[in-house]
Symmetry: C3
Subunit: 158 residues, 3 copies
C-alpha cells in the first residue's frame, strides 16, 4: 500500500463544530482519492450513535442520558447557551446552504470514508454495537488506528 496516500482522523470531540470540521476534512480527503479513516473515541462516538438511550449500570445510564440524541442534537463547543447556540448555528448553516451533520456524514460514507468506533470507549461508556448507526466498521483499538495512520500522509486529532 502507498505509505502516504491516506488520511486518518481521530475524533475525540463531541462538539458540533469539531465534528463538522472533521467530516468536511474527511469528505475533502476522500474526494481527492485518499483512503480516509475516521476513528471515533470518547465523546466523538456520539457522532455515529443512533441517539437512543445507552448504558447498563447506573453510571453508563447517566452518561447515556447526558449524551443522548445522536448527531443532530450535538451542540457547538462555544456559545451553546442550553441549545440556543445549536439552533442558531443550524439556522446559519441553512441560510448559507451548508449541509447538516447528517448530510455530511451520509456524503462521507458514500465517498467511501470508513467509520471506526473505539472499543475501549464503547466499553467504558457502555455503548453497544446496536446503539451505533448502520454502516460503521467493526470496533477496534489504538493498534489498528495506528496502522491506518502509518499508511496516511496526515493524522489529525480532533
Amino acid at each position: 500500500m502507498d505509505n502516504n496516500n491516506g488520511t486518518t482522523l481521530i475524533i475525540m470531540s463531541g462538539d458540533m463544530d469539531k465534528v463538522m470540521a472533521a467530516l468536511n476534512i474527511a469528505i475533502g480527503a476522500a474526494a481527492a482519492g485518499k483512503e480516509t479513516n475516521m476513528f471515533f473515541t470518547f465523546w466523538g462516538i456520539k457522532a455515529i450513535q443512533k441517539g437512543t438511550f445507552t448504558g447498563h449500570g447506573l453510571f453508563g445510564r447517566m452518561m447515556g442520558l447526558l449524551n443522548r440524541g445522536g448527531i443532530s442534537r450535538i451542540g457547538p463547543s462555544r456559545f451553546n447557551f442550553f441549545g440556543v447556540g445549536r439552533w442558531m448555528f443550524k439556522q446559519m448553516m441553512k441560510n448559507h446552504k451548508i449541509p447538516s451533520l447528517e448530510e455530511l456524514r451520509k456524503t462521507a460514507m458514500e465517498l467511501g470514508v470508513k467509520f471506526w468506533p473505539c472499543q475501549m470507549s464503547m466499553d467504558v461508556m457502555e455503548i453497544d454495537r446496536e446503539d451505533l448507526i448502520e454502516g460503521v466498521e467493526q470496533s477496534c483499538g489504538v493498534a489498528a488506528m495506528l496502522e491506518m495512520s502509518d499508511h496516511s500522509k496526515q493524522t489529525l486529532f480532533i
Copy 2:
C-alpha cells in the same frame, strides 16, 4: 516540491492559549526553514480579524458581537473568569517577557508564515475580506488545505 519540508496548522480554536501555541509552533517551523501554512477556520478566524463588528443578518451580527475584539481580546480556554483570566495571563506573559499574540503574529508573518482564512467559515459566520487584517492570503477551502498538508511533514489540528 519536497514532499516533507512543510508544516501545516489548522487553527479551529479561538482560545488565547491555543492560538499562542499555534503561533509558537509556526514561528519555530518557519525559523527552521519549513514552508509553514496556517489555515484558520471557525473560531480560529478571530486570530486574523481586525476586531471590528461583523455580520449581516441577525445571527451573523450576534456572532460578531460575541466574537468581537480581535486577537488581543481572546481569552484562555481555562480560567477566563469573564476576562480576569485573560488579564492575568497577559500579566504573567509580560512578567516572563513572552511576546503578546499580536507580536507573535507579526513575527510569524515576517518569517514568511502564510495565513489562510477558510472560505466556508467566513460564509457561515458572515465575515468579509475587509474584516481580516492586512497580509492574509486569499480565502480557500479544505481541498487547498489538504494540498498544503500533502507537502508537509506534520499537520496539526489545533
Copy 3:
C-alpha cells in the same frame, strides 16, 4: 534515523479524558516499536506534575492553586460537575478494568515513552523542575519538539 518510525504527541490539554487518550496512543505506539515522545505544554504539564503547590509570584501561585493535585485530580473535559464527573469516570474506568492515569503513565514510561516538559510553559506558569515527577526528560522548546516530529510518522496535537 528512520524518518518515519516515531510518534510525537503534543499534550496541551489538561483534561482527564484527553490525557488518557494521549497516554493510550503513546502506549500503543511504543508497544508497536515506535520511538514515542510526549511533549507537555500549558495545561498538559499537570499530567507530569507531582501535585504540590507551585508558583512564586501572585499569579503563579493563583495558577498553582487552581491547578494543584497532579494527574489523579484531573477532571474530564465534559460533565465534570465540580468533581462528581471525575469520580464517576474513575468508577466507570474501574468497573471496566481500565487502568488509572497514574498506571497508564507508569506503563508508558516502562515502555520507553519519553516525557518532555515545555520550558516556556514552565516559565510562564512558574513551575520548577522539582515540581515535576521523576523520570521526565530535560525541559525543551518548540525547536526540539519539531525535530522529534521530523522523525515521526504522526504528530498529534492533543
